[in-house]
């Protein structure tokens, strides 16, 4: 088993943090992981991104030329990564900021209004955790419990309040999936 996920969005949306928390969580869950951030020349308002590989054996390349999953937080990310996703792979869109639909018909598309949900929750900055919670809840790439532990491990240097806000974000995202509230374009693929 080898699963590669790309997280992408504006600088400041917390895409690197999403990937980092997922990687730590999966590692604590006993999996092999690599986390590769994009570094160097990215344009402002562009596609800061990272790739997380999770496997039950040694990981050869940490690069994803065709990721299984993409989490796109803004339009440029959708445009950049849509074409790279594996056939029957899945893209998760932050539908509050992405106003275009993917063109490919061989991938699953899930829309999550992350900013709206975050605002409802009282902290718009937690929208990355909402996306991550929804993503993990849908794909079961790791358990929600290990995700919570990963979160605590990664941000334990910050205030308790910060941990709590992020924790609530993850829960909210996960619940959103469980309740089946999301706008799904092509959930069932043959």
């Amino acid at each position: 088993m080898l699963i590669k996920t790309v997280f992408s969005g504006f600088g400041g949306q917390g895409v690197l943090m999403m990937g980092y928390i997922l990687a730590v969580s999966a590692m604590r869950g006993g999996m092999q992981v690599t986390y590769l951030p994009s570094y160097g020349a990215e344009v402002r308002g562009g596609t800061a991104n990272c790739t997380v590989s999770i496997s039950d054996e040694d990981i050869a390349s940490p690069v994803a030329s065709s990721p299984d999953y993409v989490i796109a937080m803004n339009n440029p990310s959708l445009i950049r990564f849509e074409g790279q996703i594996k056939t029957k792979g899945t893209i998760f869109l932050n539908s509050d900021l992405i106003d275009i639909d993917p063109e490919r018909e061989d991938i699953e598309v899930f829309k999550i209004p992350a900013n709206t949900l975050a605002k409802k929750m009282g902290s718009e900055r937690a929208m990355n955790m909402i996306m991550l919670g929804a993503f993990v809840s849908k794909t079961k790439i790791t358990s929600i419990d290990s995700l919570m532990n990963g979160l605590t491990e990664v941000i334990n240097t910050k205030s308790k309040k910060q941990v709590e806000i992020n924790r609530k974000g993850l829960e909210m995202g996960a619940k959103y999936v469980l309740k089946g509230e999301w706008g799904c374009l092509r959930e069932k693929l043959n």
């Binding site: 980092y20 990687a23 730590v24 590692m27 092999q32 992981v33 690599t34 986390y35 590769l36 951030p37 570094y39 160097g40 020349a41 040694d58 990981i59 050869a60 390349s61 940490p62 690069v63 030329s65």
Partner: protein, 356 residues
Amino acid sequence: MLLRGSHVYAEAAVRAGCRFYFGYPITPQNELTEYMANALASLPDGVFIQAESELAAINMVIGVSMAGKRAMTSSSSPGISLKQEGISFLSAMELPAVIINTMRGGPGLGNIAASQGDYFQATRGGGHGDYRTIVLAPGSGQEMADLTRAAFEYADRYRIPVIILGDGMMSQMMEPVEFPDPIDPKSLPPKPWVLDGAKDRPSRIIKSLILDTSAMEEHNWKLFRKYEMIEKEISQVELFLTDDARLVVIAYGTASRIARGAIKRVREMGLKVGLMSPKTLWPFPKRYLLEMSRVVTDFLVFEMSTGQMLEDVKLSLEGRRRIHFYGRPGGIISTPDEIAKVINNIYFKEGLETEV
């Protein structure tokens, strides 16, 4: 611990008893400098200096090494070029030091992507004069930790600068790592040659200017004998599925990981292919290769360059076996699928699928 490659080097260095780091910023390894700044500031005996230039940094390393302490500097390709004068001086004066090169695309300023274009510079001496440096090539986060520890030990044991040759991808990537227990620098054995004040003993001199030609010749032979000894003692490889292999891929660092992925793929199709991954680039693990060439007829060298380690493979095998090459320079990272295709082509072209 899940840790970024740059941080792995830094943490491993501190745990190896390194309390002196001097660096000048350059992407893609600034996180190493950043980590060292914090780590050494929090140690009572730690010294961190962001030097005014690469030249200054390597000369600070020379100074600390003369005084007998473990010292390190790091940079990326163009910055390492600037340090070469200092590395030549370290070699001449037989001073231990650890230098980390996070290779990037080149020549010139190039780019900041992962590349393996500095193999020649690292393994052939790099600076002026008749010298060698030990060159270590980690292929994973764990090896970055282990080889950094080894680098300090080799440096002290042989009184030689040691270069760790990685790349931008390895320095940026995070992987799980377990560190060895920290060494207290005070517990390290004293060095009988250091310049630490000549009170109650005759003074010592450490220099690289040897005007007398016979003395210079003798010094060169002395270095040469040391290099010969190192070649006998420390060459290291990692083997993967080579036992029944008809074709063996030779790759180091990032390229070795990609090759490993490719080999898993072709093994699924029944191709008998293995991997030999040198952990020491100098000394090049010639004897392992010779041993293997008794039964293996075909070797594929895969590098992220236009072919540099290839020359060492050719020199080692002296025309005995077929040597194939595949390389992508400039910061392109091949995919395991791409290398699997290359392996597949060679395998069938050379008729390796037929039983002997």
